[in-house]
Structures are given as C-alpha cells and as structure tokens.
C-alpha cells in the first residue's frame, strides 16, 4: 500500500484535500452543469414533437411559417380517404402482428431460458437477435426475395396484407423475445419448483404459475410490437402489393415530396393517442405492482397471526 494509513484522509476532509489537486469545481457547479446537460438533451428530444403539434394548428399552406391558429388540417384529414384507409390497414396489421409476435416471442424466450442446453441453441439465439440489429432494408429485401421464390413454386402468397404481416411479425417476435426474456430471468424459479413438487404437470405449471406472473411483460411486449408495426415503413414498402398502403407508407411518400400540413395533423392525433395509452399502461402496471405488494404483505401478516 502506497499511502500510509495515518495520512489517509478522513471522510470529512475529503473535499479539502482534493480541491488543490483538481480544478476548484464546487458541487453546486457540478449540479448546475449536470442539470443543464440533461435539460438540453430533453429539449433536443422533444423539440421536433412539440413543433409537429404546434404547426398542426397552423392555418398557413406553408407548413413551417406560422400564420394563425385553425383546425383546417384536421378538417382536411377527415376527408382524406387515402389516409383513413391506410390508418385502418395499419391498425389491423399492427394488432395481428402484435398478437403473433407475443405468441412466438414467448415461445422463443421459454426455449432460450428454460432449456440451457440443446443442439443449435446458439443458432436460435442469434437468429432471434438478428432482426434487432440488422438494417431494415436487408430484412425487407431478404423476406421479399424469399416470398417471391415461394410464390414461384407454390403460387402463394400474393403480396399484400399477409406478407406485410409476416415481416412485422418477424421483427416483433425478436423484440417480444427480449421483453419476455428479461421478465423470465427475474422470476423466481422456486415458484415453478414448488408447483411441480405439489404435483403440477409442466403445462399446468405454465398455465397456473408462470403465465399469470408473465402478464405484465406480455402486455408491454404487445404494446411495443404494436407500435413497431404501426411505425414501420421500410419492411412494408418491400412487402406490400398494389392497393396495400400502410399509414407510414402514405406519410413517407408525402414527406418525400416536401412539407405537408396534413402530416402534422396525423402526427398530433397519433401522439395524443399514444401518450394516453402509455400513461394508462404505466398506471396499470404500477397499480398491479402495488396490489401485488399489498397482497404479499397481507399474506405475511395473516401468516403471523
């Protein structure tokens, strides 16, 4: 040990000894600096969203020049049949894709978590993580070429809702696997063991013990994969056929041409819906958590009576 014990600074002396060595930075300045750094990042993250919302109420034809407040773009939105049918298609695909993703994601998470050793486990885990990082254009291109070859041999499937759904479900499964896996890892395996000791069959253990505990994770996986699908433009563009335009595809084709105020109105509507949904779901999960804790406390106090 280089520093003899005696010269070791006491806790209270810490600052007094350090300050000549470093620049004289007071804790107050550090606090000020860290808070402003965080504030700037939050402003950066929220500035575009706030701008979208503000300019959706702008009367001007020029999307970036403010004239005065009006609801004219919302009125235009109501009559925009292309966009409305695209939104309906997107909602349908997102709902189905989220269901399929949660189903297969739960399977994948179980396979990877409950069975530590089986042949090809590494292959499965890397296949499941590939769509997470692989650029969208590659996923879209490869799926399309696969589906085209399939159609070549079998005459099926036609490009359309089903093919878009497959692409979104692939991406969603990868994300759902991550969400469910992290929950499975936290879960106490003693509960499963206890159920088995009490004579449960493996499937009964799953249905009566594991599944109820997994519900919050399944809900958040559903919401996440729903949003992913509702948001995707690259996979849909590769996989869709004539007559099947999702909402992001319509928005993308308009945004490519320039600024378009109806996009701001769509954005504001989706932002409102999403914010309400996220707040509601976080409220729901925190209430679940509270209830669970209360029940646990109740159980303990009953036990000690």
């Amino acid at each position: 040990m280089k520093t003899p014990l005696k010269s070791r600074p006491q806790l209270s002396e810490k600052h007094a000894i350090k300050s000549p060595v470093t620049l004289a930075v007071s804790p107050k300045m550090i606090k000020w600096f860290s808070q402003s750094w965080m504030l700037v990042v939050y402003v950066f993250l929220y500035m575009p969203i706030v701008t979208l919302v503000i300019f959706s109420f702008n009367d001007s034809q020029l999307a970036a020049v403010w004239s005065h407040a009006s609801l004219r773009w919302y009125a235009a939105l109501m009559k925009d049949n292309d966009l409305i049918s695209a939104v309906l298609l997107s909602l349908k695909i997102a709902f189905l894709s989220a269901l399929i993703s949660v189903f297969f994601g739960t399977f994948t998470a179980f396979a990877l978590n409950r069975y530590k050793r089986f042949q090809g486990r590494t292959l499965l885990s890397s296949m499941a993580s590939t769509p997470l990082v692989m650029p969208d254009v590659i996923v879209g291109l490869s799926l399309l070429l696969m589906l085209v070859s399939l159609q070549h041999w079998l005459g099926y499937p036609e490009r359309g809702l089903f093919t878009i759904l497959l692409g979104h479900a692939l991406l969603g499964t990868a994300y759902a696997t991550v969400v469910v896996t992290s929950r499975l890892r936290e879960m106490d395996s003693k509960l499963d063991e206890a159920a088995m000791d009490l004579g449960c069959q493996p499937f009964q253990v799953f249905r009566l013990v594991t599944l109820p505990l997994l519900v919050p994770a399944l809900v958040s996986a559903f919401l996440l994969t729903f949003t992913l699908s509702f948001d995707d433009v690259v996979l849909s563009s590769f996989l869709s056929g004539p007559g099947y335009s999702t909402m992001p595809m319509v928005i993308f084709s308009r945004a490519r041409l320039g600024l378009n105020p109806t996009i701001n109105a769509v954005a504001t509507v989706t932002i409102t819906v999403v914010t309400i949904a996220v707040l509601a779901s976080s409220f729901y999960t925190s209430r679940q958590e509270r209830n669970r804790k209360r029940e646990m406390a109740q159980a303990y106090s009953d036990m000690n009576k």
Binding site: T3, M38, T108, M127, A128, T130, D136, M146, T270
Partner: protein
C-alpha cells in the same frame, strides 16, 4: 404383441411432441423460415443474373447432371465502380460519426441520470422512452419543418436578427447527422444508463479515501467498469446506422451517399435484384464484425 407395439408407437409419438421439443421446435421453425432462409436466398440471388424479368437459376441441368453456374458480375461491379465503394465508405463514416456524437452526448447524460435522486429516475427514464412510442417517421419529418430555409430555426434566428439570410441546413450532411443522432440517441442512453446505475459507489468512495481526485477516479474506475454499456450502445447505434434508409432519404441530400439508399434504388428503380442482393451481402459482411462483438459482450454480461 400388437398391444406392445402400439403402446411403443404412442410413447414414441408422445416423446416426439413432448413439451421440450414443442417449445424449442416452434420458434426454431419460425426463425429458420423467416430469418435464416431469406438470407441464404439473398446470397443465392446475388450470385445469379437478371434474365429479362426473372433471376437466372444457379443450377443448370445438362445431360442429367447438375452444374452450378455462379455469376460474380454484381460483386465485380461493386468492387470496381467508384460509386459503390465510395458509398460504402461514406455510410461507414456517417455511422461512425453518429456513434461518436451519440456517445459524447449520451455518456454524461446517462451518468447524471444514474446519479439523480432515486425517486425521480423512473420518470427520467420514461421521458427518454416516450419519444420511442411516437412514430419515428413523424419525428424525422418534424426535423424537416425545423431545418428548411423558411423553417422554424431559420425564422427564429432571423427574427432575432442573428442572421440576415437563412442558413441552408436541409439536405446537407448536417441535417443528416442531426436526424441520425436524434433517432439513435435513446439506443445509446438506455444501455449506458442500465450499466451506470448498477455501478457500485463503494469503488469510488474507496478511490476518494485513497486520495484519488474525482476526475481521475472517473477515468480509472467509472469508464472501464461501464465498458460493456459503451460497447452495447455503440453497436446498437452503429449497425443499423450503416444501413439507414429513411433518414438519408428525408433529410440527406444528393451528395450524402448512404448504402441503404443505393440498395433501395437498385431494387425499386433499376429492378436489378442480383445487384441489390450483392449490395446487401457486402453490407452484411461489413457489419458482421461489429455484430460478433455485440453478441460476445451480450453473452458475457449475461453470464
């Protein structure tokens, strides 16, 4: 005799579709069909050539014997045509710049977030996640409103009298970088925060007790211990950024070359499937190394 064999068959059947095989088999089948096979098909098509509206077949049957005909024309083209290798180079450069800028912004942010009072941390985290839930496309579009010549930022600067003429920001490398950093920043913040919030403060206290300055302790203790978070975040940003298509299409200019756009054009405008596939295969080879690093660190952090 008959009884024994039938019970044997049924037990074999039960074994075949028992829980374990079923639980492993279902996702295996799903990912094989949708993730692995498509990539192999891309590889196959990159080695064929376009024959009018169809892709040539790799295997030809001559006198009852199959012969494999590989066509490397697309790869030769990528290797010799300046547009392609320059585009790869510039994609890698933009992706690297995005990663570095994200790291510079995100590290202090995640550090300060992890040091914030415990009870406000969930809210801070939620505020990072919330933009995730809003359409990525709409957020990129919003930057257009902010950055165009008669856009919000130029108008504010001009009305404040800071500039006379609008600054040309749209369709430049600047607008591209803003869009990329903006979209990928949360992917850097989240793994860094996850890592830094687990940092054992006793190490820093011990260093301070031994007379290390906070600055030195930061470089000698905090940064090395957060290496896994830095690597995870960097790979989560770098890999998808290389192949990004939407951001360069909406915010980039004609001179900001990105390989995702080239792939898209080869496929949708030129209808050249073998070329698009070859571009994809080379892109996969380029991101293979960072992906291997990412997987290795993920596996280590789980162990």
């Amino acid at each position: 005799m008959k009884n024994i064999s039938s019970s044997r068959i049924s037990s074999a059947l039960r074994k075949l579709i028992d829980g374990r095989h079923f639980v492993i088999g279902v996702p295996y089948f799903w990912f094989l069909i949708l993730a692995l096979v498509p990539l192999l098909i891309v590889l196959k098509i990159s080695l064929s050539e376009m024959e009018s509206t169809e892709v040539s077949s790799l295997i030809e049957w001559a006198n009852g014997w199959p012969s494999v005909k590989l066509n490397f024309a697309s790869y030769m083209f990528i290797a010799t045509d300046a547009l392609y290798y320059q585009t790869y180079f510039s994609s890698l450069r933009y992706a690297l710049m995005t990663t570095v800028i994200c790291l510079i912004i995100a590290y202090p942010f995640a550090y300060f977030m992890a040091r914030s009072p415990k009870h406000i941390q969930p809210t801070l985290l939620m505020l990072i996640m919330l933009p995730f839930w809003t359409s990525f496309l709409l957020r990129i579009y919003a930057w257009k409103t902010l950055l165009v010549n008669n856009g919000v930022i130029n108008n504010i600067l001009m009305s404040l009298g800071l500039i006379q003429d609008p600054i040309a920001m749209m369709n430049t490398p600047f607008s591209l970088m803003v869009g990329m950093v903006y979209s990928y920043l949360p992917f850097m913040i989240l793994p860094l925060y996850a890592n830094l919030s687990k940092l054992d403060m006793r190490y820093l206290e011990a260093a301070a007790d031994l007379g290390t300055s906070p600055f030195k302790a930061f470089w000698l203790i905090t940064v090395p211990l957060s290496k896994a978070g830095i690597i995870a975040g960097s790979m989560l940003v770098f890999i998808p950024a290389v192949g990004e298509y939407v951001i360069p299409e909406l915010l980039g200019g004609s001179d900001t070359l990105m390989i995702g756009r080239v792939l898209w054009d080869e496929f949708f405008s030129n209808n050249d499937w073998p070329m698009a596939s070859a571009v994809a295969v080379v892109m996969i080879l380029l991101i293979m190394l960072p992906m291997a690093i990412y997987n290795k660190y993920q596996a280590e952090s789980k162990a």
